[in-house]
Every structure is written in C-alpha cells, then in structure tokens.
Subunit: 190 residues, 2 copies
C-alpha cells in the first residue's frame, strides 16, 4: 500500500515523463495523488525537495537493474551499464536533466542514491581493470572518465549539438564504444 508520499513522487514522475518539467506543478501533482495542492508541504520541504525524491527514485531503479544484470565479463558489465544509462537518458530526457541538474536543496535521499550507484560502477571498473580490459590507475578516476563520456554524449545528443547534417552521425552509444575501444585496446565485440 503506497503512502501519500509515494503517491506524490509517482505523480510527479509521471507528469515529468509526460509533459516535461513545465508540466510538474504542485496543483497537478496533488490532484493526481488525490490531495490538495498544499498537501505536498506536509511531506516535502518544497517543490525541489519533491523533485529530489523523483530523481533519487530514478537512480535507485537504475541501480536495481544493474544488480539484476548478468554479464559475460567485467568489461561487458561496465559496457552494459554505460549503455543502459545512455538508453535511459535518451528515452527519459527530462528525468536525466532533472537528476543531474542544478540542485539548490540538500537531499540526503538523492545523495545516498547517487553515492550507491557510483560506488557500484567503481566496483565493476575495478574488476575490469584486474582483467586488463581497462587501463590501470585510480578506479575512481577511470570511472569518472567513463561516466563523463556517457553523460556528455547524452547531453550533446539531447540538445542537438551532436548530430550533423551530412555524414559522421555518431550516437551516444557509439561514443561510449569508441572510448572503451581506445582504453581497452580490443574494440568491443558486436
């Protein structure tokens, strides 16, 4: 049985998905959750705090998918994780922008979800380094490089700064594979 708080987060996530950030108003969130427009203030400090809960839910979902996954090798696990992130960002641009947007509120829930997600990817990178599939060096830093490519490629693609009229249209997933190829020596298969 979902609590009113859960209902509010779900309603906000649905509105964000359906109509973008402009569609997320506390009036509509309240209406979808079956409460008034001031009810959210009994559960969240304000609108941004509610949005932080939406972002945290997204990060937790991604982490759950990662834990569910079975890969043939650590290198493939890293690649699958990055490509899953890219697919999610392109499919849900508003959630992607929200999650890594400009927060002016401190949300332990969001910070925890982000830290858990990042730590899990670092573990995969460490295993891939042990296999020689990724270069040696500070695992945090190698992870940051991989994450930066995935994030930047999605940001450029979503804002239209990646595609070009003529040839050479590279999708975000291609750029992730390019980097992995340059880092690992062996280009990723298929």
């Amino acid at each position: 049985m979902p609590s009113t708080r859960d209902d509010l987060v779900a309603a906000a996530a649905d509105l964000l998905e359906e109509g973008g950030p402009g569609a997320v108003t506390l009036r509509e969130v309240g209406a979808r959750a079956g409460v008034s427009r001031s009810a959210p203030y009994r559960h969240f400090a304000g609108k941004e705090d509610l949005l932080a809960a939406v972002a945290a839910r997204g990060l937790r979902d991604r982490h759950a998918a990662r834990m569910r996954r079975r890969a043939a090798s650590p290198a493939e696990a890293v690649r699958a994780d990055l490509l899953y992130f890219v697919r999610g960002a392109l499919a849900h641009p508003a959630l992607f922008r929200l999650t890594f947007g400009p927060w002016t509120v401190e949300s332990p829930e969001l910070a925890d979800a982000a830290a858990t997600s990042r730590a899990a990817l670092v573990d995969l990178v460490i295993a891939a380094q042990a296999d020689g599939a990724l270069p040696a060096g500070d695992p945090d830093r190698v992870t940051a490089l991989l994450t930066a490519v995935a994030h930047g490629a999605c940001q450029l693609a979503l804002s239209g700064h990646l595609s070009r009229a003529g040839k050479g249209h590279a999708a975000p997933a291609d750029l992730v594979d390019d980097l992995l190829g340059h880092l690992g020596g062996q280009p990723a298969d298929r």
Copy 2:
C-alpha cells in the same frame, strides 16, 4: 551604440550570471534595459527566444577567444580549446546549463553559433590527427568524443556527482587530460 535588443540580451546575461536562471525575469530584464516588461516582445518571440540569444552570444564569445589563440601545435590547440571550455563552464554554470539545455524553440542564431563553433574544433582535430597526436578516423566522431568528455565532466562536477569524500578527486580538466593521454599515447606536457 548598442540597440535595445543588445541591451536586453546583455541585461538577461547579467541577471543569469548574478542570480541564476530564476533571476532572469522579463520584468527585471526590461527594467535593466530601461524599458517596460512587455518591450522584449517587440524583439523576441518570447522569453526562451531571448535566452537563445544569450546562449548564442556565449558561443560566439568562445569562438572569438579560440580564433585569438596561438598554440605551439595542433594538439596543444585542441587541448587549450577543451580546457578553455571547461574553465568557462565551471565559472559560469548557469550559462553552460542554459546553452546545452532543453530548447523548445527554433533559434537560427543559436544553431549557427553552435555549428560554427563545432566546425572550428573539428578543423583543429583534423590538424592534430595529421600530426599523429590524435587517432585516425572520422574527425567529426573524434571531436564528438572529446567534446562529450568535456561536457560530461563539467555536468558531473557541477551537480556534485564527480567529487568524492576521500581520495581520487578528479577535476574536469584532469579528465580531459586523461582522455588526451589515452588517445595520443604521449601524455600532455605540464
């Protein structure tokens, strides 16, 4: 003598810089430009169109700095350009987020500025490839990889997803150099 249109763009850019996106209201923009709050509608289709002009101005400024620069080698020119971008994004986060944010309006001015900036970087990459300082392959794609890392590193740093409590704190500029090192074989000097 700046036109009213230029005054409006300058006022919006100043407000964005000083107080973030929430501080850019047409009322305040108009007041700073010495006109009423409805005057901007004689020069722009709406608020977003005005913001597109602000973003385009930023891209043109970056391009002007690039043209002014003298580098020891094509590889150094590419590196300097990426590091200049990173420095600008971290120093002016609101402008960075605006420029590569979710546009729902078609602005030829912004599209032109972005295309010009991208093409210039591709030229630098081509020259660096000819020197063997960057791997061969579609220059558009190599440029996209470099740009993605710079953008992603800035996005992660600004949203606090890059730093970590303990060790291994990598700044965006470090990740750019890491990538160039992996791509070029020779790590960038100093």
